[in-house]
């Protein structure tokens, strides 16, 4: 809860139009059930992706408590706006929330999390308040039950997506990587990420996940995309029982053939990424070859992004 000094200053403030932008992510590098001080939690490390994202504008109205959202179906964003106002102790402000997003739905790109984060930022901005990432994440998880760590940008964190908090800061930013992303099941109907039931990990799987976290820490320390690739492949393997990745073996084959750093796949969606080390001198050649091999197995709608320059450049 924000203290009374901020609340008083909000009351005296001239309300203005607020804006917020948030990036999407490209699915998980690592996801599972982990242990923290003897307690288990559901956690994930998501790959930030700046070519997709959301922009929210909030037009506040005094003496109202009603929020109207456009498009109307984005009710999680509406809820996020309401929760933001509530957490700031504001009661007599409503308004109109407009959201623009270029994130494709049902792929596991965190489109809803991106909307929700942008919405929270826009409401705070309209009240002249700057919220910390920790507070934003805690509001977001209340709005959408499961939320991802996109507010932490290029910082690698093991995030409790159902607790809305960072369980472990992995000690640095993601290394410079380039990713070729695509929908692994373009003819399918996608996955409703939030309706997707949480994976029931066996105790064996919980044990199997431990060395993956160890290597994740090491990958950040070494700034080594190849190690990240090892973690994401192993995590995706464990996840196959809950959500098989279409053409998983063929895509793994491409990764091996071109000697890419690895592959990553959404653990509750269908988006897949082939990861390259930005500093690899043969990167362009490898990317070129991958594009052609992906085309051979039917993937010709492929996008490309970097993980170290996260300004929102999406064509919003």
């Amino acid at each position: 809860m924000v203290d009374s000094i901020i609340c008083n200053s909000i009351k005296n403030l001239e309300l203005k139009e607020g804006r917020g932008t948030a990036i999407a992510h490209h699915g998980e590098i690592l996801q599972g059930m982990f242990e923290d001080a003897g307690k288990l939690f559901r956690g994930s490390v998501t790959l930030p992706c700046h070519i997709f994202g959301s922009q929210a504008s909030f037009f506040p109205k005094k003496n109202s408590s009603k929020i109207v959202v456009d498009p109307e179906w984005k009710i999680k964003s509406k809820k996020a706006a309401e929760l933001t106002l509530k957490s700031l102790g504001v009661e007599d402000i409503g308004g109109r929330l407009m959201i623009k997003s270029n994130t494709p739905l049902r792929l596991g790109l965190g489109s809803s999390t991106s909307d929700v984060n942008a919405s929270i930022l826009s409401v705070a901005n309209s009240l002249g308040v700057v919220l910390s990432p920790v507070t934003i994440a805690s509001i977001a998880v209340k709005a959408e039950i499961a939320t991802d760590a996109i507010i932490f940008g290029e910082r690698a964190v093991l995030f409790g997506h159902r607790d809305g908090k960072v369980f472990e800061d992995l000690g640095g930013n993601f290394p410079p990587m380039e990713v070729l992303g695509f929908n692994s099941d373009p003819d399918g109907e996608g996955v409703d990420t939030l309706a997707f039931p949480p994976a029931e990990y066996s105790w064996q799987e919980i044990e199997m996940l431990r060395p993956l976290v160890g290597l994740m820490r090491r990958a950040i320390y070494e700034q080594n995309p190849k190690l990240i690739g090892r973690v994401s492949i192993a995590s995706t393997e464990i996840n196959q029982r809950f959500l098989p990745t279409k053409n998983f073996d063929s895509i793994k084959n491409i990764v091996r053939k071109v000697n890419a750093a690895g592959l990553q796949a959404s653990h509750s969606g269908i988006v897949v990424g082939i990861i390259f080390d930005s500093n690899d001198v043969d990167k362009e050649q490898k990317i070129h070859r991958s594009l052609s091999l992906l085309k051979d197995i039917g993937y010709d709608n492929v996008w490309r992004f970097r993980t170290d320059k996260l300004h929102l450049e999406a064509g919003l």
């Binding site: 105790w203 199997m208 431990r210 993956l212 160890g214 070494e222 973690v231 192993a234 464990i238």
Partner: protein, 346 residues
Amino acid sequence: MKNRLAYDNIIDFVELPKIIKLDDNLYGSAFFLMKLMPARFILERAEREGILKPGSLVAETTSGTFGLALAMLCSLKSYKFIMVTDPVVDDALKRRIEDLGAVVEIVQKPADIGGYQRSRLDKLVEILKKNSGSFCPSQYENTNNPAGYSKFAEILTESVGHIDCLVGTVGSGGSVCGTSKYLRQLFPDLHVVGVDTLGSVIFGQPDQKRLLRGLGNSLWPDNVDHTVFNEVHWVSAAEAFLATRMLHRKHALFMGGTSGAAYMVAKWWAEKNPCKIVVCIFPDEGYRYQDTIYNDRWLEENNVKLDKLPNNPIEVKNPIDAKAQWSCIGWNRRDYENVVGKHKGT
């Protein structure tokens, strides 16, 4: 930065090994007492599954470090513990285990068939029958022994990063087989080198009296999955003892005899493969061996004092050809029958 909080108990502090860089491409993982890791995992799984209830009796046949690990854990967790062993148990270890509140039951006579190993098992069965609700960890068969090494695999990946080769001694098979399976999720091409001693049946040698203890076996434990191993080495007691002393002299690492055996093989492998990252397992500390391995007179009296290690192992095609000195075989992840040409025990 991690906060350095007080430990809840000694196990939390000593369970994980220290990972130490021994050379550009060689890392040692030095345990205080490796067996704490599977022992704790086995007990805690049994607690969770309701097989082990508060205050119950734990009973196991062992003459070594697994008994010490169980005694420490049972003392902290308030279980009764009976360790069944034979007259070879060393007296200092016996007193230490008894001081932890355990009962050490020494069988006096070997069975006519199966020797002490058999009479110990018979005694164990008798104890388990007499005490309803008692629990036997069964390190040789219990799959929670290998499964207990996930935290070891975690500290290895965190401290070392990419790993090409794991070298460790094989007794129950739990440590090497368990750790390899966890690591191969991330490094599917991991090269696994098992180190056994001459006269141990695990990898197809004829059974013989062995001076080097802790590794090797006179039976085939279920927890040895032969298809894990790319390469198998047999070392003599004298070679392992000298290597143990060299590990101490060169790196100030005061470890037990199986650590020396693993070190000798790992050092050789790392020198032969300078571009590969090698990790080697050191299962216990040297204190138990001060009067033996670390005592030149004892080494001389037992005719196991060497001045120099061989430069290379002798490569054999069949396990029975390994004789008297350090030997190796390309096991190539085959099963026992495929390499040895007959079933276990025939």
